[in-house]
């Protein structure tokens, strides 16, 4: 298990933003993140079979990852879908999206598995709910490790 190494810059900034807040305000920040989760592009929203469900999450969460060629080489693009009635799940998906989207596979695979706990939310949302959050990161990493489909 990868633990407690340096985080990619965008993710490190998000983790710091959470850490600087009081526990109750961390929940408010997570709610703000949940509002910022972008909708799926049409090519994916019309093809739910291209997404897979993270069953460890309490509410339905679907995700997929794609690789995209850029001038700086191949990067990973992340796509998440969770219903509005699952703001906690959406919030954490948005944290991963904002912190990891557009990084290389190597950078994402190097993210420590205990990163979700670094947000300092475990007590505010309960350890059981936190488990779903950790599973989400685990699934992203596992999908990347297993080889990523190029974007259509």
């Amino acid at each position: 298990m990868t633990t407690s190494q340096a985080l990619p810059q965008a993710l490190a900034e998000i983790v710091n933003d959470f850490k600087e807040l009081e526990e109750a305000d961390r929940l408010t920040l997570l709610l703000e993140f949940s509002r910022g989760l972008p909708p799926l592009p049409e090519r994916l929203s019309n093809h739910p079979e291209l997404l897979e469900q993270v069953v460890e999450c309490q509410s339905p969460l679907f995700l997929t990852v794609e690789s995209e060629k850029t001038d700086d080489g191949d990067v990973i693009r992340l796509f998440f879908q969770a219903p509005p009635e699952a703001p906690t799940t959406r919030g954490f998906a948005a944290v991963l999206y904002e912190g990891l989207d557009g990084l290389t596979a190597e950078e994402i695979l190097a993210v420590p598995d205990d990163m979700p706990e670094q947000l300092g939310l475990t007590r505010a949302i309960s350890p059981l709910r936190m488990r779903g959050m950790s599973a989400m990161l685990g699934r992203v990493k596992r999908k990347i490790a297993n080889g990523v489909r190029p974007s259509a």
Partner: protein
Amino acid sequence: MPVAVETNEKFAAYAHPERLVSTEWLAEAIANGATNDGNLVVVESDEDVLLYETGHIPGSVKIDWHTDLNDDVTRDYIDGAAFALLAQAKGISRDTTVVVYGDKSNWWAAYALWVFTLFGHEDVRLLDGGRDKWIAEGRELTTDATAITPSAGYPVVERNDAPIRAYKEDVLAHLGKPLIDVRSTEEYTGERTHMPAYPQEGTLRGGHIPTAASIPWARAAAEDGSYKSRAELEALYLDEAGLVPGDDVVAYCRIGERSSHTWFALKYLLGFETVRNYDGSWTEWGNAVRVPIAVGAERGELPSAN
């Protein structure tokens, strides 16, 4: 001062109509200012810890089943002192009428109501249909923070578990009397140990408590999330599960939340006097050493006592 009980045709058929209020009733009570003076407190309790913040019934307060009602060290509910602090902070006195509502056909709301009942809070009611029905009817939601005036105080009441809560030992002693398993069919047969699409909670064995009848909790709820009529509930629990009026019943699920919804139906809608919720449920039973388990769709036999 208790708030007057709602009367309507649907509720009148239930054994304890005073335990439910309709969305119409609540909207009118709020419009009439019933929530302004601490006589009526509306509590939202959801699966998702942030759902309340995305929009809630005006003037309602949030109580989270996990972070507010569970002790954060011992696997148990909070004690009387913690409950008194919680109630006071939410503006609740011992004689306040509490109306609980929530998502998913009130599954978590029923759980919160059951915990209030462990502390003997006298007047606690469920909003029939819960959050979903309120929203479907286009009723008002707000993201404005509720300005809570803490109540003058709430007594420290020792939890009285015995009448409505069963421990594992109680269930072992109960074997031979009716049990209702409210989990999904796949959990009942042992095909899986957690709800479809829900977190695996580390249960080692799949199956059910021998002789338990399988009546998934959601079958007690209508399309709109409200409880089914008395006649429909009787068809379910008397005709199908085989309960007989007067039975001593234990309901269980995975951690005791879904079975609170069934507990409410049996206790207050059908009027069974003795109904206990086994909150240890399958996460305890499926891991316990040397308890009997039945696998498959049949209810199974009790092991011979020797």
